[in-house]
């Protein structure tokens, strides 16, 4: 069914025929500006902005409805009117589109490179492929004042953590400005995806952000299935959700412990580390891989759950139900820990809304979006669960959202086990013989993952864009730490746990 009302608000030249399940429209400059108006006024939310040679695309989410549309602008002169100039969440995606494809955002307030650090040996590798320019130092934004000094951290950080650079400007102990510089783990995934077979592409999707391997493969498979207008068998759909919830549990346990550990409360870290390990071991028994990589594929799942898997998952649920309530109590009743997490690193609800922040970052600041609920994809449309939302927006709220989501995931897994339909676990994906496009969102543990792709009719990727939730969370971290003390930065950062690899691609 075609959602009409969102398109009514987006005047356009023409509708692209083979784009599923939501519409894609080609717009001219005036209509592109209308879309920007909707974003700037808060009527719509930016779900993603990406390029391809000669064209820039935006995915938009309707304000009051859960409709999605993709708006495409053909950049005849290699340029498009900047969205970021009026809607800040678009700035980094625009800089990335410029680095990769050479599409210039005219009127932008920030034309600095983002993913391109000047060492690839060429510029615009996926577009115009220009020879490298002259090396120039990266100009950080100024912060001036008599008492201010800078602390430069990274890209190699102090822990077992991904690389990125943080430039802090501080006034004594207090953070005046944080500026992030990312792109260090840019692997050129979208370049490798172009021309890839579906098998190779889903393998790359799994390795976009290793902690969300299931969520990426799930979104990728659904985008392919949408483009080709096929459905994975019900048995596979339920197994996909089982994996997605196991992944969520493992990551939330890891995060809850790691946040407490950054407040020097190692006991919680040790305890949740045990729960996380038990989840990964259950995943290993069920699906033969601890992080469940390469299990979800277009058409279903590559292998069925092991015969002893179901009992293993039930035993896992029992273990967690025995231990976790005591850990919640421990978190709630340890005053020294609360002293660190409450009122630390506040994300304002209006920023969360403006940036369309997904996951616990958005839901801890009043933005009640969860792709499982709002977009109600299978099998979540048949399962009952709550989406916890808080308003405080501090580290404590982000911990509590995770705690509540663990409880919901336990209930979801129980429902999945009780209702797991029988039948085949995979159908074959036949080439369609025509160019077609698909888009899908799934809810990873840290927020919604968006996958947009175009297939060539012979089951090869023409263009595939993967958008991690971190794109719209990283900038909020810069705002959240302002006025906090330097020593609370690790705590704030861990409570976001943004992906570097998922962002840098």
């Amino acid at each position: 069914m075609m959602p009409v009302s969102l398109l009514d608000q987006l005047p356009h030249h023409r509708l692209v025929a083979e784009h599923w399940p939501w519409p894609r429209v080609i717009v001219g400059e005036g209509d592109w500006r209308v879309a920007i108006d909707h974003l700037a006024s808060g009527h719509m939310t930016l779900l993603g902005l990406w390029g391809e040679p000669g064209t820039v695309h935006m995915a938009l989410l309707g304000g009051s409805s859960n409709e999605i549309a993709v708006v495409s602008f053909e950049c005849e002169s290699g340029a498009f009117p900047s969205v970021g100039a009026r809607h800040p969440p678009a700035r980094r995606p625009e800089r990335a589109a410029c680095d990769l494809f050479g599409l210039r955002a005219t009127g932008t307030a920030d034309a600095r490179p983002w993913l391109d650090h000047g060492v690839w040996g060429l510029r615009h590798p996926l577009g115009t492929r220009q020879p490298p320019g002259e090396a120039a130092p990266y100009p950080f934004l100024p912060a001036e004042g008599e008492a201010l000094h800078q602390i430069a951290v990274g890209p190699v950080h102090a822990g077992i953590i991904e690389p990125g650079h943080f430039r802090f400007t501080t006034n004594g102990e207090h953070l005046v400005r944080l500026e992030q510089r990312l792109g260090y783990v840019h692997k050129g995934i979208e370049g490798l995806l172009a021309g890839a077979s579906l098998d190779k592409a889903v393998e790359l999707a799994c390795r976009t952000s290793g902690d969300s391997a299931v969520a990426y493969a799930f979104a990728f498979a659904r985008a392919v299935e949408a483009a080709l207008n096929v459905d994975a068998p019900p048995h596979a759909v339920y197994l996909r959700a089982l994996m997605a919830e196991l992944e969520r549990l493992a990551n939330h346990f890891g995060d809850i412990g790691a946040i407490c550990n950054d407040a020097s409360f190692a006991l919680m870290h040790a305890q949740t580390g045990i729960l996380r390990e038990r989840c990964l071991r259950a995943a290993m028994v069920c699906f033969g891989h601890r992080l469940m990589m390469d299990v979800i594929v277009p058409g279903g799942v590559a292998r069925d759950i092991a015969p002893e898997g179901l009992a293993q998952v039930r035993a896992l649920l029992e273990d967690i139900r025995k231990v976790f309530p005591r850990l919640i109590e421990l978190y709630d009743n340890t005053a020294s820990l609360q002293d660190r997490t409450v009122t630390t690193g506040i994300v304002r609800p209006d920023y969360a809304r403006q940036f369309g922040a997904g996951g616990y970052v958005g839901r801890a600041s009043g933005r009640a979006f969860d792709a499982r609920r709002n977009l109600s994809y299978a099998p979540y449309s048949e399962l009952s669960f709550e989406v916890p939302v808080l308003e405080a927006g501090d580290v404590n709220a982000r911990v509590w959202i995770r705690i509540r989501e663990v409880e919901q995931s336990l209930s979801l897994i129980e429902q999945i086990l009780d209702r797991l339909p029988g039948g085949e676990h995979r159908i074959s994906i036949d080439p369609s013989g025509r160019i077609c496009e698909g888009i899908a969102l799934t809810e990873a543990f840290r927020g919604d993952v968006l996958v947009w792709l175009r297939l060539d009719g012979n089951n090869r990727i023409v263009r595939c864009h993967l958008r991690d939730a971190s794109w719209f969370q990283w900038p909020l971290l810069e705002a959240a730490v302002e006025g906090n003390i330097v020593a609370d930065f690790p705590l704030c950062n861990k409570s976001f746990n943004c992906s570097y690899s998922g962002h840098d691609l």
Partner: protein
């Protein structure tokens, strides 16, 4: 909190028996690690982890070897915050071009004698990212590597086997 701590004392130990050192890793090391260096450092090593473009999968499993089941520190191995405190660099990822300089600088900031352990399929030869305009292709193309631990990602047991091989030569 008291109850949780008390249970930790009374409910038995989760930590599992150590795996045998990896035979293949031992053979690789035999060529790379001088006996004299081991005599200087004894059986305790400090490890600095460097993510040179990993998808973060390897980092998750490296984290796991610190948990109660694997308990890395019982072998005298521990992770440190600075390369200047490290004997071992544990490097993951296909070495993105954007990380090449940082990896090289980290290596040069680590005092001798030192070893480099390349972890995961990408760190061996770029893995599925090999051939990208943005990747160098393998850790050995940037810094000398003493030991490879295979896997995508290697399991915590694989990681322990490899690290124990470092100690048992």
């Amino acid at each position: 909190m008291r109850k949780t701590l008390f249970e930790g004392l009374t409910h038995g130990i989760l930590t599992e028996a150590p795996p045998r050192p990896d035979e293949a890793a031992l053979a690789e090391l035999a060529q790379n690690v001088a006996q004299t260096a081991k005599a200087r450092l004894g059986r305790s090593l400090s490890i600095r982890q460097v993510d040179a473009g990993s998808c973060n999968g390897c980092e998750l499993e490296i984290h796991a070897i610190n948990n109660a089941f694997y308990d890395l520190e019982r072998f005298g191995l521990r992770f440190v915050a600075s390369p200047r405190h490290a004997d071992v660099l544990m490097v993951t990822g296909p070495v993105t071009k954007n990380m090449r300089e940082a990896l090289s600088r980290t290596y040069h900031a680590t005092p001798d004698p030192k070893w480099v352990v390349a972890v995961g399929r990408c760190a061996a030869d770029g893995g599925i990212f090999a051939g990208s305009y943005a990747c160098v292709g393998g850790v050995k193309d940037v810094v000398p590597v003493d030991l490879h631990i295979a896997g995508c990602p290697p399991s915590p047991t694989d990681l322990l086997k490899g690290l124990l091989a470092l100690l048992s030569r």
